[in-house]
Structures are given as C-alpha cells and as structure tokens.
Amino acid sequence: MLDTLVVIGTDGLIYAAWLFLIALGLSLIYGVLRVLNIAHGSFYALGAYAAASLIGLYGQRDFWPYGVYLMIPLAALAVGVVVGPLVERGILRWMYPREPVYQLLATYALFLILEDLTKLIWGVDPIYAYAPYTLLGDVSIGDITYPWYSLLLIGTAVVVGILVSVFIRRTRTGRVIVAMIEDPEMSTALGINVPRMSVLAFSMGTVLAGLGGAMTAPMIAVMPGMGAEVIVLAFAVIVLGGLGSLEGAAVGALLIGFLRAATVHLFPVLELFVIYLVMALVLILRPRGLWGRAEVRRL
C-alpha cells in the first residue's frame, strides 16, 4: 500500500512537472493577451521536433556527450524566437479588437496549419531522440527505479516556474506587463510600448511551450498528432488553476498530475475520464478556477 502511494506520488509529480511546463506558457499568454491559444499545442509539437532534430544532429558529431542537454533550451528558444513574433504580429494583433469567437477560431486555424507544417518538414514517421534520456541512467527511490531524466524534468519545472514568477513580479519589464494587463490605455499614455510588450509576452509563452515539447522529446516517439492531445490537457490545467494565473497553473498541474497517477495505478479505466470530469466540475463550481481572482463583470 505504502509502495503504491510512493509510486503515485512520484509519478504524479513527474506528470505534474511536465504539465506545468506546457500550461505555464498558455496561462501567461491568456493572462497578458486574453487569447486562449489553441495553437499552443502546435508550439509544443514544434519544440519537440526541433529538439529531436538538434539532438540527432549533435549525436552525429564527436562532441562532449553532456552538451546534448544544451540542445533542449536551444530548440525551445529557436521555436519561440521564430514563431512567436511571426504569429503575434502577423495574425493575433488583428484579432484583439474582435470578438473572442474569432480569436479562438484564428488560433484553431493556426493549429491546423502548423500540424501539417510539422508533417511537411519532418515527415510522418516517428522520430526518436533518446540520448539525453539514457545518458543520465537511473536512480533508486526505495524499491522503485526512476530515470534521472524524470527528476531533471521536475527540477526544470521548478526553476522555470520561479524564473517566470520573478520576471513578472520583480523586474521592470515584468511589472510593465502587469500594468499593461490592468489598463492598456493608461499604459500607452505613460509611454509603454504595448505592441512590443505583447510580442514579448507571446514569444515568452511560445518559448515555454517549445521547452515543454523539447523536454518531452527524449521521453517519447515524436510524431504527428501530439499537439492535439496536449492542448486539451493544458486547457484543463489552466482552467483548474484559474485562467491567466501562474500559481494557478502550478496548482492545476499538481492536481491533475496526482489525479492521473492515482487513477492509472488504482482505476486505470477512469484515466482520461477523470481529468475532464474534474475540469467540468471546477468550471461549474468555481469558474474562476481554484486559484483565480474573481473578475467584475463589465456591462
């Protein structure tokens, strides 16, 4: 019994860390731009593909083996820097003044486009990039063996979470972004370059999605369709925590992580079912999320 609890605990934590990395960017984008970005799943997939390619390329040369880990943030950055500004400036900025319906539809269209773009670039066959995963070996916790890479994933999630929250709360740029959320007009009047901040926030979200994908790439077979699965999970996470809240993303990820680990080990039949059931329940009982602030309804 105790063993099962330990397994559920660690599995849940690993899964939560993974979810958090992906959902954080989604929550950031929603928080700053008020756009629920369906294409976030595609950014994640792009990150995974880019990482798989870079890891493959790196492995072909006779470099220092541990340098392969640098490829992961590199892939994430590449995706964020290329795709982020392009999408924000090219498509999203035209959507801000329009109804939320169209924002949702535009990111859905983008999702469809990027799905096929990955197929065009990388083909439809699965790509494997196990090097970073196997290089570290395993670690024993009690009687159970875990790959070090999973712990690295947890560590990354914690560090990234702290970095993003320090950036938003402590740096000048971060505070400017918060001011912009509160009152875009007043911010413009005070000389804040709102469009530039929007690009910055969106690109940061894209980097985070890419990082989520890049960290995932060594653990799975990278193949088409991976974005569609992830995006609904990420939605569930940020809905649970509260749309646009950073702590909320952490709370949501932990809740879903443990919930999934528990159902997988205790009632495997309920696995997919439970996550969305909880999502629906939270939406029904507390639509602002477990961690969200209540918003005054504007008439």
Binding site: L36, I91, W94, M95, E99, P100, V101, Y102, L104, L105, A106, Y108, A109, L110, F111, L112, I113, L114, E115, D116, L117, K119, L120, V124, A228, V232, F235, A236, V239, L243, P268, V269, L270, E271, L272, F273, V274, I275, Y276, L277, M279, A280, L283, I284, P287, L299
Partner: protein, 314 residues
C-alpha cells in the same frame, strides 16, 4: 424567409432528391455525410447566433451515433426511423441535463465547458471498451427503413433520401424556431443580454432551450452519419470533430439555416479532393482558408449570395 428563398430551397431539395437516383454511389455517400455534418454545423450556428462558440457539439454527435449502435446491440431494433427518433430524444435529454450548468456560461467558459463535456464522453468511450468497443468502435448492421430490408445497392440511395428528408424537416423546424419570439431572443442574447433581461425575458432560459435544440440537431447528424457509415468510433466525440463543425459553420456562415449546409457540402468535397491530391497538406489548406475567411469574409460563403444581384444592378 422571403418567398424567393423558400422556392429556391424547395426546388434545391427536390433536385437533390432526384440526384440520389442519378449520381454515382460514392457521390451519394459523400452527400449523405455532408448533410449529416451540415446538421451538426447548423447546431453550432444556432448557438453562434447567441454569441456562443461550442467546441463540444461532438458530444451530441457521438451520443446520437452511439445510441443507434447500442439500440441495435441491446434491443436488436434495426428500424432506421426508431433509431433516428431514439438518438434525437437521448441527445436532447442529455442536453437538458448538461444545459442546466452550461447555460450559465459565456465566451471562453462556454467553449471550455462544452469541450470538457465532450472529452468526458470521449474518455469513457475509449476506456470502457467492454461496452463501447474502445478505439475499434462498434459496427452497425444495415438498418431496415420503414420495415423493409433493402438490398445493399438500394440501401445507399434509401439512406441518402432519409438523410435528405431529415435535413429538410430539421431546416424547416429551425427556420420556424428562429422566426419565433424565442428565436429573436436568441439574437438579442448576442446583441445585448442586459437589455433582454430588462425586457423581462430570461436569458438563461433562452440559452437553455437553444442548447437543447442544438443538441437534437447534432444528435440527428450523428445518427445519420452512423447509419450511412455503418460504424461508430470514439473519434466522433474527440474535440477535433467539434472543431470541424465550427470550421464548417464559419465556412458557410450563420445568417441563414441554409448557410451551414452549403458550408458542409463544400467542406466534404473539398476534403475528399484535398485528401486525394494533398494528403499531408489538406489541414494546412483548411487552416489557411479559415484564416482568409476570418480576415476577409467573417460571415462565410453566404456573403457570396449578394454577388450576382450586385452585378445585375451595375
């Protein structure tokens, strides 16, 4: 509806009915699927009139389809009319239940909750494989129509005519609904909820009834798809299926009950040819088209109906 449109659509439907006997079998099959999808898109359009985007109409689409499959399995009833009625009734009953909660939400929250609901069904269909057949889904044996067992060849045409008849009836009903006081209230919800409340209408009730009606439509589309294909699988409930309905609605437009249907027919043929000639890029083409529509033709293909008249004037 202006008389001109009434006669136009009447003629179009008679024409489509005749087509069932003339066109090659694969075209008839595609048209059946398109009409069934059109009904689901119409249900999205109905909600969109109230300003609500549902990313979960696949919930009722799949419900309709699986109700048919279960009815055949559990009760051995193979009569198409019974399956149709059963599927619509169950879909609407489910909506009456889900609507109790969902009718309170707008915008993103409505979209998210509808998505969560359909993913719950998807999760259950996928995992409870001893009941639902899991990823493989369930087979539906060829149904009888009006008590007659048709030959395989005839059944294709008969099912098409049934689909067409159901679509026509549904269109007339929805059109009448939209012209009724409640139908006007649906539009008012989108324009200004608060004023509607001040006028003494309950916005909650308007959305609740619209949601149930929309579910009936999606359920009808689902059961018609199931009967035509002869197979149901969990993909019917996945959120991308609901996304497709949203796409079709955007393609056609929401201004007329005919628009989503036209969107569906265009979509189905577009997809068939795109799959044939560009199997890896058809989603990209769809996405690109969707963006173009959002930017330049937000009211959908229905906008094009003005073209001819404007030309005649100039």
């Amino acid at each position: 509806m202006k008389p001109r449109w009434f006669w136009f659509s009447g003629l179009a439907f008679v024409g489509l009915g005749v087509m069932g006997f003339v066109l090659p079998r694969w075209t008839v099959f595609l048209l059946s699927l398109a009409l069934a999808r059109g009904l689901a898109a119409l249900s999205v359009a109905l909600l969109m009139r109230a300003g609500l985007v549902s990313f979960g109409q696949s919930l009722f689409f799949a419900t309709g389809a699986y109700v048919a499959a279960f009815t055949v399995r559990l009760f051995g009833i193979r009569e198409a009319t019974v399956l149709l009625v059963g599927a619509v009734v169950v879909s609407m009953a489910l909506a009456a239940l889900a609507g109790l909660w969902i009718a309170r939400y707008r915008e993103i929250f409505f979209a998210m909750l509808s998505l969560a609901f359909t993913m719950i069904l998807y999760g259950w269909l996928l995992k409870a494989y001893w009941i639902t057949g899991g990823t493989d889904g369930l087979r539906i044996p060829p149904p009888t129509v009006l008590g007659v067992t048709w030959s395989v060849d005839a059944l294709r045409t008969v099912l098409y005519e049934v689909t067409l008849a159901c679509t026509a009836v549904a269109l007339v009903l929805i059109h009448l609904f939209l012209e009724s006081p409640l139908g006007y209230a649906v539009r008012a919800v989108r324009d200004n909820e608060v004023r509607l409340e001040y006028l003494g209408s309950s916005v909650w009730q308007v959305i609740y009834w619209t949601y149930i009606l929309a579910a009936g439509l999606a359920g009808l589309g689902g059961v018609l798809t199931a009967l035509n294909v002869g197979h149901v699988d969990p993909q019917l409930a996945y959120w991308t299926t609901a996304g497709e309905f949203v796409f079709i609605t955007l393609l056609g437009g929401t201004e007329s009950v005919l628009a989503p249907l036209i969107g569906a027919v265009v979509f189905e043929f577009l997809r068939t040819y795109a799959l044939k000639y560009a199997p890896y890029t058809w989603q990209m083409a769809l996405g690109g088209m969707m963006l173009l529509l959002i930017f330049f033709m937000p009211r959908g293909l229905w906008t094009l109906r003005h073209l001819r008249f404007r030309k005649a004037l100039s």
